[in-house]
Subunit: 139 residues, 2 copies
DNA sequence: GTGTTTCTTGAGAAGTGTTCTCGATCACGT
DNA sequence: ACGTGATCGAGAACACTTCTCAAGAAACAC
């Protein structure tokens, strides 16, 4: 039996309120900032549950943290992530799906899963970064 | 100035001797097993150096460990990894490169990098897994 | 509403992987 | 051979995650 607790709702809400991927720690801080006395362990548990149920997507940041995000769809899909502001766009990648299966099969691999994520700078951050670079260059 | 020390050579050698991705910890244990009194910190430093120089490839395992592998080419490429035995096949993915750039551009993203790795079971491990499953089913 | 059951929570301890610190060591240029 | 300073190693420090367990609170039966 799964019980409904305000803690679980709070985590889900905080995740929904966020556009990009957030770390468990960040989510915990955010919840505390809003006055929730929720525990860190509980945040981890809730996130793990959401990920298992398919209500959230998780990935490993290059720094080794686990990042989570509320997903608009339960279907298999990939992400385009701004490495500066965390903005995330869900992308479909039929071509890549096919390619991955193909490559695996060609090499005798079965049960193929794949990790496909694209990191970059979103339009807004590109502008910021460019002007900052210019400022730095002129210093 | 970069010095040549036997420790660095040992790490590189151990990496070369390995077919698939290995964790820093595993590499350290392996080196100790051969009698090298090399320190763990040194292994981490050497691996980071190799990765920066492009002599080694690194990726995050699903468990959050950093895995390293000596690469036969410095060119950008991807991997097909057996999740059971660690066997790794280097794969080219021009199609994916193009797709990634394309998707990024379409969404206004710049400086796009991507993470593309395929995990599966290699032919040998598929056989083992299948027979094991059969054995389990008959129990 | 009351009582019972048992799932969930939260604080902190524990665990794991990685990085940092700092005195000792040793490779390299002269 | 010598001096310099990059590199080493052991362990401490650190960050993130998971585990432990007593206390709290949903859900259910009555």
């Amino acid at each position: 039996m799964k019980r409904n607790t305000w803690q679980r709702e709070a985590v889900r809400g905080a995740l929904d309120a966020n556009d990009g991927f957030v770390s468990a720690q960040a989510l915990h801080s955010a919840l505390h900032a809003t006055g929730s006395p929720i525990g860190l362990a509980t945040v981890y548990r809730a996130l793990a549950d959401l990920a298992v149920k398919g209500d959230a997507d998780s990935l490993q940041s290059p720094e080794g943290e686990s990042l989570y995000r509320a997903c608009s769809t339960n279907d298999h899909h990939h992400h385009l992530i701004c490495r500066n502001c965390g903005l995330t766009v869900e992308i479909e990648a039929d071509a890549v799906e096919t390619w991955a299966k193909d490559v695996a099969a060609k090499n005798g691999f079965t049960a193929a899963a794949h990790v496909v994520d694209v990191f970059g700078l979103c339009a807004a951050c590109t502008v910021t970064a460019t002007s900052q670079a210019a400022a730095a260059a002129s210093t």
